[in-house]
């Protein structure tokens, strides 16, 4: 039997949908039994949510004052203590999982498979390299624990309706004091979360200024969409980095992605390839974005955006 331990991501109140996507991935491992661990200062609510994910057998709660904020240096030794009984330890390929899981792998003395996008066998997986220009199939040693981050854009969230059991764990692990949480500043927006949104509108350098990005925010609000940006737009200061989509930003898989004035560098395309439908609006008919777009429109975005907003109203 393959016993998979998934490290749940949450903010203390809500379980991040990335966790249910990890469950879908873990469920595709032959003969698997799935446990979700939630670490926090009070994980009662998120543990209940994790137990309701279909396919989850057990939820382990690790409540400790030091776990209030997800610091890799604090979490990793506790996960190592939990991992003893498992063959696989998975986390999401979000900034939380990417920060944490390699530290866990190193403490366990094993390798990590990053951005696992498909399960070929219990110890054989597919993952992208070179910004998604190539896909490798890697085989890991079945006699060792396997640590991986799951490429969340490759998986749908597992349904709810499960009834896993919840268990509280007390771990006798000494935690380091060398790392301290100071604070966080979020992009404070009422729009859907970019990583999990069903609809995304996105802008490139052609927007020309941070001020001009406002027309996308307005369209997005009308559509109930999240707003993304190309790296070029982020680098130019038109949009904050948490909006960046691509190899070095977020990898997303919305139902619809509408790209305005994005030329379509390979590094950007790698972030949107899993979108169900890609719509591209660009003045330049030769822009590489049109090679991946399902629907293309060669036009000036500054005319298209207001017209589109009016027509979908």
């Amino acid at each position: 039997m393959n016993k998979v331990l998934i490290i749940g991501e949450h903010d203390g109140k809500t379980l991040n949908p990335a966790t249910a996507k990890c469950v879908t991935c873990a469920a595709s491992i032959p003969d698997s039994e799935i446990t979700v661990a939630v670490l926090g200062s009070d994980t009662a609510a998120v543990a209940t949510q994790a137990a309701a994910i279909s396919g989850v057998k057990t939820v382990l709660r690790v409540d400790r004052a030091e776990n209030q904020h997800p610091l890799a240096a604090i979490f990793a030794p506790q996960i190592v203590a939990l991992a003893a009984d498992y063959t696989h330890v998975f986390g999401p390929s979000t900034s939380f999982g990417k920060d944490l899981m390699p530290r866990v792998a190193a403490l366990l003395g094993v390798a990590q498979v990053s951005d696992l996008m498909a399960v070929v066998g219990a110890f054989q997986f597919r993952r992208p390299i070179y910004a998604g220009n190539a896909i490798v199939t890697v085989a890991a040693d079945a006699s060792r624990k396997l640590v991986a981050t799951v490429r969340v854009a490759s998986y749908e969230a597992a349904a709810t309706g499960g009834s896993g059991s919840v268990e509280s764990k007390t771990l006798n692990v000494t935690l380091p004091s060398h790392t301290r949480y100071v604070g966080a500043k979020s992009g404070s927006t009422d729009r859907p979360d970019l990583q999990t949104a069903a609809k995304v509108v996105s802008g490139g350098r052609a927007l020309g200024s941070a001020d001009n990005f406002k027309i996308l925010y307005s369209l997005a609000d009308k559509m109930g969409a999240a707003v993304g940006a190309s790296r070029a737009a982020v680098d130019a200061g038109y949009a904050p980095n948490e909006m960046q989509v691509g190899q070095t930003g977020k990898i997303i898989s919305p139902e619809i992605y509408i790209a305005f004035g994005i030329s379509g560098a390979i590094q950007h395309l790698t972030g949107i390839k899993d979108a169900r439908t890609i719509v591209a609006i660009n003045k330049d008919a030769e822009a590489p974005i049109f090679e991946v777009a399902d629907v293309g429109l060669v036009a000036d975005l500054f005319q298209v955006v207001p017209e589109l907003e009016k027509l979908i109203g």
Binding site: A106, V136, H178
Partner: protein
Amino acid sequence: MQKLMVCIKRVVDYNVRVRVKPDGTGVMLDGVKMSVNPFDEIALEEALRIKERVGNIEVVAVSIGVADTQQQLRTALAMGADRAILVQTDTAVEPLTAAQTFLALAKKENPDLIFLGKQAIDDDANQTGQMLAALWERPQATYASKVEINGDKVTVTREVDAGLETIEVDLPAVISVDLRLNEPRYVKLPDIMKAKKKPLDVTSMDALGVSVTQFLKTVKTEPPAQRQKGVFVKDVAELVDVLKKKGLI
């Protein structure tokens, strides 16, 4: 603060469009332009700026790779690193082995901070910094977009999915850098000449007592699935029509 170590990786240049070999054994690398991993350039730039601000700090650039990796270390020296160390090997090393190698160097060099890029643009693994910090039993501050040193502590602003997070870590520590931390300087010709005289030591994993473990075997390499060719619409009205038919708006 006395010493900063910067780990750099030789990778296929950012502008090269990498293609998969027809026989599926890897990607085509013959004659392809190689460069310093762009994130590692940002890491080095940050170390150099700290040196320029604080003064009297040595910046050591280190790398693991084939003999030609000396070219990338020379670039690092031309940018302003004081000396360089190449751990020469012809085998591709996995992140854990890279971390073990950098750990061996860290134990010899005792840097106050180790900087490196958040990921290399070839394997996109995003692991080495975190693994190095774990093995070194020191703090990690990944995806840094701002680094402030206050005595024996560093305050680091991190790029996370939700926005920005700030943490404080004790020195020594490992910092992996994100894109917006800084803009690396251009190397000028006189600096390239000067860099030729700077020390570049070549060592091996054997000499450092690091054994290479291959945990992962690459079974095959394939090109990504292609998306089906799309359609062009002539105006916004037709676009809205198409999207409505698909039930998307």
